[in-house]
């Protein structure tokens, strides 16, 4: 646990010692802000749903970009050799990395709360229950995409390749829900259950069902496990 914390803190420091964190947070806030303000001023719609619809789309590129260097860069610069020869378990390293990326995503989401404050200040009647569940859903999707991005980053030492693999994998989970009409009915149920959007929409409606939570946590656990296995396999090369 202590080692995970050390890796987490190192990663957070690295994010903020380089322009990475600032670029991510600023662009994330600007892109989300643009879509929110668009509906707010042009259509006169003052609710958080427009934001909750656009954040998963922004995630598709932002999270793989955030995660692409987490392990690929270590492999590329050779610092993985330092990590692998420290008395540090691979899972402690991977979880530390994941928590750092996840924290930055949560920080990004926190920045969007400025829109909530705007809504409250203009006198909109806010349904706090759906706002909280909406944010919870976005946080969980962010967690899933971060774990997918870390896995993509572990299979290569090239950050661009890691980004492309990451976007490809998150797109699969994102698009599953849209592909249902092309699927045979026998498969449709399974595909729908695997889809991120299906579970996100359930949570966003304010229904926090344990099945949805288990889905998100299982997916995060699965990709982190695959990352650990991928890194362990390197020693046998």
């Amino acid at each position: 646990m202590h080692n995970t914390k050390s890796v987490f803190l190192k990663e957070i420091r690295s994010f903020f010692n380089s322009p990475m964190a600032y670029i991510f947070l600023v662009i994330f806030a600007v892109v989300n802000g643009y879509f929110f303000v668009n509906t707010f001023f042009l259509i006169g719609q003052a609710d958080m749903r427009s934001l909750f619809r656009v954040v998963p789309l922004v995630y598709l590129f932002f999270i793989p970009a955030l995660a692409m260097g987490l392990i690929a860069k270590e492999k590329n610069t050779g610092t993985m050799e330092i990590i692998d020869t420290l008395p540090l378990k691979t899972y402690e390293f991977v979880i530390g990395k994941f928590l750092a990326a996840f924290s930055l995503i949560l920080l990004g989401l926190l920045a969007t709360s400025v829109h909530l404050i705007t809504l409250i200040s203009v006198g909109t009647n806010v349904d706090y229950g759906s706002v909280i569940s909406g944010y919870l859903g976005l946080a969980l999707v962010g967690g899933v995409y971060a774990s997918v991005g870390i896995f993509a980053s572990s299979v290569t030492d090239n950050q661009v390749v890691a980004f492309i693999i990451g976007v490809f994998l998150v797109l699969i989970f994102f698009l599953m829900d849209w592909m249902l009409i092309f699927m045979p009915s026998a498969l449709a149920g399974i595909i729908q259950f695997l889809s991120v959007n299906y579970h996100l929409s359930n949570i966003s409606r304010g229904v926090i069902d344990s099945r949805n939570l288990i889905y998100f946590f299982s997916l995060i656990g699965f990709f982190l496990y695959m990352t650990v296995q991928t890194l362990a396999a390197r020693k046998w090369r």
Binding site: H2, N3, S6, L9, K10, R13, S14, N17, S18, T77, G78, T79, M80, E81, I82, D84, T85, L86, P87, L88, K89, K235, W236, R237
Partner: protein, 314 residues
């Protein structure tokens, strides 16, 4: 103590390390010497647990690396070949991260930091970003990170690369001091560096150990004959032949006339040094010896000889 038994590593069809054996006790500085691609880095990486061997055993203090990797990694300080570092980190933060993983925190860390900054001469850059440091400083940061936990065993892959001559002397002294109490296994392609620093040399060639011994052992094993160049006032070739017959330990290689005499190249076995006999013979005959210079073999010669043709253990 490090014990390596029948250790091998294959990369697909390529056998990088072929069933090597050696044992290093504590208090010994060992130089691991080999041409590029000889298998020295692969061997060091298997000892540190970075790579899993294809076959054989690595034991550190009687613990097997395959079962006790983490315990062994706690005892080892390792400086990898290319000295990878986190460029975006502050030197202090980097050392703090490494120390933290090694369980050195709080006051213990402050003491360790003080010691290591002093030993490695990092005082002026401790609050600087690593990417802003010169190559020499970066090498010293890597060394500091490998020694922050005061390990019993130090494995240094090319530790003096990128350092200027003054820094090389400093690091050499540091390694020599550490080697009094600890086990130091260092690789280097700078032969003079190995010769000046280590107690024992292991030469690896194409994945096999071709020589293992002290500097002197290697010299006597691989360079049995000494070449001697002598300048005399002898004018006749038959006088030289006469000397050769009277001093049987020598073998005349060549003799060339020089103004007022001859320059003679002769060979003798290292253990049968005949220079005193030659001198007495010359005095008896009334000859004048103008100079007598033995040419001892250099590690470079042995290294070249072994890594081109192969050889045997000393």
């Amino acid at each position: 103590m490090i014990r390596v038994k029948d250790l091998s590593k294959d990369y697909g069809e390529v056998q990088a390390v072929k069933s090597i054996n050696f044992e290093i006790p504590r208090g010994q500085i060992v130089g691991f010497l080999g041409a590029n691609g000889a298998g020295k880095t692969t061997t060091l990486q298997m000892i540190t647990g970075y790579l899993i061997p294809t076959g054989g055993i690595v034991e550190v203090d009687d613990l097997n690396i395959s079962d006790h990797a983490e315990e062994i990694q706690k005892r080892i300080g390792y400086l990898p070949e290319l000295n990878p570092l986190y460029g975006e980190m502050i030197v202090h933060d980097y050392l703090s991260f490494i120390a933290d993983i090694r369980g050195i925190r709080g006051r213990e860390f402050r003491e360790a930091l003080h010691r290591i900054v002093d030993q490695c001469g990092l005082k002026s850059i401790v609050h600087r970003q690593i990417s802003e440091c010169s190559k020499g400083y970066r090498q010293r940061i890597g060394l500091a990170a490998s020694m922050i936990h005061d390990p019993d065993i130090l494995i240094l892959d090319e530790p003096v690369t990128g350092l200027d001559p003054n820094q090389i002397v400093e690091i050499r002294e540091l390694i020599k001091n550490l080697g009094k109490k600890k086990l130091v296994l260092m690789s280097s392609h700078i032969l003079q560096e190995i010769q000046a620093t280590v107690d024992r040399i292991i030469i690896i060639h194409e994945g096999e150990i071709v020589a293992d011994g002290t500097n002197e052992e290697l010299m006597s094993s691989f360079m049995g004959n000494v070449l001697l160049t002598m300048e005399t006032n002898l004018s006749q070739d038959d006088q030289i032949k006469e000397m050769s017959d009277s001093v049987p330990a020598i073998k005349i290689v060549s003799s060339d006339p020089i103004p007022n005499g001859h320059k003679i190249h002769l060979e003798y076995k290292r253990e049968e040094d005949p220079r005193e006999q030659i001198f007495k013979y010359a005095v008896n005959k009334g000859w004048v010896i103008l100079s007598m210079t033995p040419h001892t073999a250099k590690l470079e010669d042995i290294f070249r000889d072994l890594t081109v043709t192969g050889g045997n253990d000393a």
